[in-house]
């Protein structure tokens, strides 16, 4: 590859990344709006309705407010790590999108180990939180970080087993192949229990209600980001929502057939993926409005004593059935 050709390739990748990330960021902004509207509707309130028609400019008003505020760095904190943590959280939520296929073959990087890449990136999310908690030099932040670290590591284990049972049915680690393997039936149907375990684990992995103990505003104020203000806080906030979208996308791709059309006579396309993501995101918001927060020991019990043995048993069952019926996919 010559230098000019390499430069052209680089430019193409940059354009592709922008084409993916700009809609994603707008989606993040409007997810905050949607959350407030959905919660309001469930609680018989109106939600944001003052800024613009139906309050549609609310996310931008919030963004401008965040930009205008002063960034406060606590005196006893570790400055470098304190500022690095929110950037890490936000950056990790963005780079995971490199392997997401939005249509057949439409991925920035169509790599062989896409599922592992996603899993690796999502398991790194915990660092932003731990580093924030430690660098803040505050008891509440530290407690939040400790809770978060234990929680995310616990639920990752069962998430891993769920992914492995999906991969057994696919026979490939490529996300494109994962979606194409669901041409006939979505994995959510034969692997329904795994779908439920995965969805609940994604709630825990994104620190969303009812597993939002790292924030636990009634006990530890706001947990790991209690010392953050202005843009640093905004990055955490946006990172959390971007992670929600990412996890919904993973759920859609692994279990709901990605961009494939659920009805035969309509063409498949990225629109279906967006629709599925939105449905899963609505479930995130719905769960938040419905369930009270778990107690910490209950959270650990659910992760280690219920999900882990269950997903392991289901994995063995899946492998056994595939082997007995001769349905094992051979290579890809």
């Amino acid at each position: 590859m010559g230098f000019g050709e390499g430069l052209l390739h680089l430019l193409l990748v940059v354009v592709q990344a922008l084409a993916l990330l700009v809609p994603l960021l707008i989606g993040v902004a409007y997810l905050t709006y949607a959350e407030r509207k959905v919660l309001a509707a469930i609680q018989l309130r109106k939600g944001p309705n003052v800024v613009g028609p139906f309050g549609l400019w609310q996310p931008f008003a919030d963004a401008i407010k965040m930009l205008m505020k002063e960034t406060i760095i606590p005196a006893g904190s570790n400055r470098l790590l304190f500022l690095m943590a929110p950037m890490l959280t936000f950056g990790l939520a963005m780079i995971a999108w490199a392997v997401i296929p939005v249509n057949d073959g439409w991925a920035i990087a169509d790599i062989n180990v896409g599922v592992l890449y996603l899993f690796a990136i999502s398991s790194l999310g915990v660092y932003g939180i731990i580093i924030a908690g430690w660098a803040s030099n505050s008891k509440y932040a530290f407690l939040g970080a400790m809770r978060s670290a234990a929680q995310m590591v616990s639920y990752e284990v069962s998430m891993g087993f769920v992914m492995v049972s999906v991969l057994l049915c696919v026979g490939s680690l490529n996300l494109n192949d994962v979606v194409m393997a669901q041409r006939h039936v979505w994995f959510a149907i034969p692997l329904f229990p795994m779908f439920v375990v995965f969805f609940i684990s994604t709630l825990a992995e994104t620190n969303r209600a009812p597993f939002d103990l790292p924030e636990g505003e009634s006990e530890i104020v706001a947990g790991f980001f209690v010392e953050y203000s202005a843009m640093a806080f905004a990055l955490f906030f946006l990172g959390e929502y971007a992670n929600m979208i990412l996890m919904s996308t993973m759920t859609s791709i692994l279990f709901l057939g990605g961009w494939l059309s659920p009805v035969g006579f309509l063409p498949s396309g990225p629109g279906w993926l967006v629709l599925k993501i939105v449905v899963v995101l609505f479930m995130f918001l719905w769960v938040r409005a419905t369930f009270p927060r778990f107690r910490y020991d209950q959270l650990m019990r659910l992760g280690w004593k219920v999900f882990l043995p269950f997903s392991l048993a289901w994995l063995v069952l899946t492998a056994g059935v595939l082997l007995a019926m001769g349905w094992l996919p051979h290579g890809a």
């Binding site: 899993f119 398991s123 915990v126 731990i130 430690w134 290579g331």
Partner: protein, 237 residues
């Protein structure tokens, strides 16, 4: 050309951060440098074409092991002045251990022989159509399945041993028995009784002292019909 350049960049960062792990003053910084070293090692695996190993390195070491390191190290209360204090005294011991290890390494490397056909294996063609996930799986689960399973068994025993050694079930700690909780019903946990005022359900039930004389009934506040004096007296604790 770009791959070679990338190799040197990643290898340099890897070596520098590995050196920082042992020289950084703050143990938390040491762990963070260790994580950086893992990342660069994963990048080197990627350049070598071993994408499966690269991802597993990040998932296992960065995503799980280093989190636990960081978890523990952050909770240490390190006194830096105290750390520096022993430096002079222990430096000779440290230097001696280092020297012994260095000599041992030299001896091992001095007696190093490559197997006769190793070089040809290294240059061998990668079979087409076999991804490295596939190749690793064949080696581990087909060719060496017994050894692999035995290694797993050893790890399992080690894990159970560690748990047995550290688990102390204090008899005073309270556990939630979810099965028992959900199995409860109104029939097994509730008893309906009609209690005479001030009498209690069974003799000795009442822990509060009984009033000597009946208290004066409080003034009925508007609409307080039916709020008799004795009722109120029973509520005063």
């Amino acid at each position: 050309m770009i791959a070679t350049l990338a190799f040197y960049v990643f290898a340099l960062i890897l070596l520098v951060s590995a050196a920082m792990v042992v020289t950084a003053r703050n143990p938390v910084h040491s762990v963070l440098f260790l994580i950086m070293a893992f990342f660069n090692a994963a990048a080197l695996f990627l350049i070598a074409g071993a994408e499966f190993l690269a991802m597993i390195l990040v998932i296992v070491y960065v995503g799980a092991v280093a989190v636990l390191f960081l978890f523990v190290v952050m909770m240490l209360d390190v006194n830096f002045a105290e750390l520096r204090e022993g430096y002079q005294r222990y430096a000779p011991v440290g230097a001696a251990v280092g020297a012994v290890l260095f000599v041992e390494l030299l001896m091992v490397l001095g007696g190093w022989h490559f197997a006769p056909d190793a070089a040809s294996l290294r240059l061998g063609q990668i079979p087409a159509g076999v991804s490295n996930t596939d190749a690793l799986g064949r080696v581990l689960y087909t060719d060496y399945v017994l050894l692999f399973q035995l290694a797993g068994l050893v790890l399992l025993v080690a894990m159970i041993g560690a748990i047995v050694l550290t688990l102390r079930d204090r008899k005073t700690s309270r556990h939630q028995d979810i099965g028992r909780q959900t199995a409860r019903s109104a029939a097994t946990s509730l008893r309906m009784v009609t209690v005479a005022i001030g009498a209690g359900v069974a003799p000795g039930d009442i822990l509060r002292p009984q009033p000597e004389a009946p208290l004066t009934p409080p003034e009925p506040v508007g609409g307080g019909a039916g709020h008799g004096g004795p009722h109120h007296a029973a509520e005063i604790r």
